[in-house]
């Protein structure tokens, strides 16, 4: 009797609701938000699908034959998402930071892992969508020839998208505005792209450039793609480069997650 009374007067404390660090629902709602933002802007469609598709078609015409185009074409299909997702990720997050929406989002139950997960999910989906368009054009109109089936390149494009997005999220912590985030494209990505052998074959470059090619992060992407083009399902070279690429993605994401926090109280 007394115990019941005590229970009535002093109710047992409700178990404290601890939110899971990551929830699929929150991740998906962040991803949907990112996708919605892009969907509203026709320029985003042009830069994500229009320009890459157009480039695949015209670059083929800069070469004399399908065989000559294939080394470049295979890299192009898989490497576009690195650039587009870097662009989308860095500029969107810089904007969220400078406009205060990041603070607002983090004031909700959304954790920073949810936020990073949401951005990555969006990047993966867009990268796959983009590669469907570029790969279709590359294999049909531009006569791309590869040993691996086209879907392997689609999957690699998805991973490239994750890579580009994680770099973008990381960079957004050190730049002040969208303009500075954009400058990394000509300043950091384009020189790397020249060295990856997308235009001129790596084997004919000077020794020190070949050495540079071995250590630059973007080379893991181009090497995976070249491996997938030369061998059925890529072989060991694809496995090694993909493993290194995944490590780079994880490292960049850890850095990005550490940099995303509430500035106010």
């Amino acid at each position: 009797m007394t115990t019941t009374l005590a229970r009535e007067t002093v109710p047992a404390p409700a178990p404290r609701r601890t939110l899971p660090a990551v929830s699929a629902r929150r991740v998906w709602s962040i991803a949907r938000r990112v996708l919605h933002e892009l969907e509203r802007d026709p320029r985003a469609r042009v830069v994500m699908v229009g320009t890459p598709g157009f480039l695949v078609v015209i670059v083929r015409r800069l070469f004399d034959s399908d065989t000559a185009f294939s080394p470049t074409g295979a890299i192009m299909v898989g490497i576009f998402p690195v650039f587009t997702m870097y662009l989308v990720g860095s500029t969107s997050l810089v904007r969220e930071r400078s406009r205060g929406t990041l603070e607002a989002v983090l004031a909700t139950p959304t954790s920073r892992l949810d936020l990073v997960g949401g951005y990555l999910t969006a990047a993966f989906l867009i990268a796959i969508g983009q590669s469907v368009v570029t790969a279709t054009l590359a294999y049909t109109v531009s006569g791309l020839q590869t040993e691996s089936p086209p879907w392997v390149f689609g999957a690699l494009a998805g991973v490239s998208g994750l890579f580009g997005m994680s770099l973008g999220l990381l960079i957004s912590a050190v730049v002040r505005n969208e303009g500075q985030a954009f400058q990394a494209l000509p300043g950091f990505f384009i020189p790397q792209m020249l060295v990856t052998g997308i235009v001129w074959p790596v084997s004919e470059m000077a020794g020190w450039v070949q050495w540079l090619e071995r250590v630059l992060p973007l080379s893991t992407v181009s090497r995976s793609l070249t491996a997938a083009r030369l061998h059925h399902f890529g072989g060991s070279s694809l496995a090694v480069n993909l493993a290194v690429l995944l490590c780079l993605i994880v490292a960049a994401l850890l850095g990005a997650a550490a940099s995303i926090r509430r500035r106010t109280a």
């Binding site: 904007r95 303009g179 000509p186 020249l194 470059m205």
Partner: protein, 246 residues
């Protein structure tokens, strides 16, 4: 007709540029870096290096002025500083000229560095004298400002501008003749390349490769390039550099 207002706007934009250290580093150092890289990539192909190296040298100044001018004007427009400027006696021609001067001055530093390194260390050989190449590079940097100001038309804020610039620059580079001269392109691609503003500057620079004296092709391509700069600037005067309010 540069007035005091022009000078003030030039100094202001320049000060803003100089304050932004990462931007200035990228602006002045990166072209030299790209030249060194390209020469290494093409080490075993001297002929290609002579062609591509010259074009890169003559035209690289377009890229940074294009990017930075576009972002600078977009920020002014978006944040309202342009409106403030318009309420002062400064004319929009002053703003246009101010921007061109402000971006051309750092471009001179950049060009001198790039030209010095390329001819001094990287064995670029051209028939035309070095000063002609330098002048072409200077013209390209003005072209970059003109394209940059114009492209601010196609976006409402800086976020959108990043996409516009990426979407404009990449196909432009392919069509410009850097990787394959326009007259060797297939018919429809050649036709498409006639509407790429950069292409005429590339053709003009390419003429410096084999000719010691100015050729007719050089003059006509130069004329078209100057015309494009004038046209784009005129359009920008009427669209970007206008007061929105009252």
């Amino acid at each position: 007709m540069p007035t005091t207002a022009t000078v003030h706007i030039t100094l202001r934009v320049l000060r803003e540029l100089l304050r932004d250290i990462p931007t200035m580093v990228l602006f002045t150092i990166s072209p030299t870096f790209v030249m060194v890289l390209t020469s290494g990539i093409l080490r075993n192909h001297p002929d290609t290096w002579n062609r591509v190296g010259l074009i890169t040298l003559g035209l690289f100044p377009t890229a940074p002025t294009f990017l930075f001018a576009a972002f600078a004007i977009q920020r002014e427009r978006f944040r309202g500083t342009l409106e403030h400027l318009m309420t002062t006696p400064a004319h929009r021609v002053d703003i246009l000229l101010g921007y061109i001067f402000a971006f051309t001055l750092p471009a001179v530093v950049q060009i001198v560095m790039t030209v010095g390194v390329t001819y001094g260390f990287l064995d670029l050989s051209t028939a035309a004298p070095v000063w002609a190449v330098t002048l072409m590079a200077l013209l390209s940097s003005v072209l970059g400002v003109a394209i940059g100001l114009f492209s601010a038309n196609l976006a409402h804020n800086e976020l959108q501008l990043t996409k516009v610039l990426a979407a404009m620059a990449a196909p432009h580079l392919m069509l410009s003749g850097l990787f394959r001269p326009p007259d060797q392109m297939v018919g429809w691609l050649h036709a498409l390349s006639t509407i790429a503003p950069w292409r005429y500057a590339v053709s003009a620079v390419s003429e410096l490769q084999n000719h010691t004296r100015p050729t007719a092709a050089l003059w006509s391509n130069l004329g078209v390039t100057v015309g494009i700069i004038g046209l784009l600037s005129a359009v920008s005067l009427g669209t970007v550099l206008t007061r929105r309010s009252a």
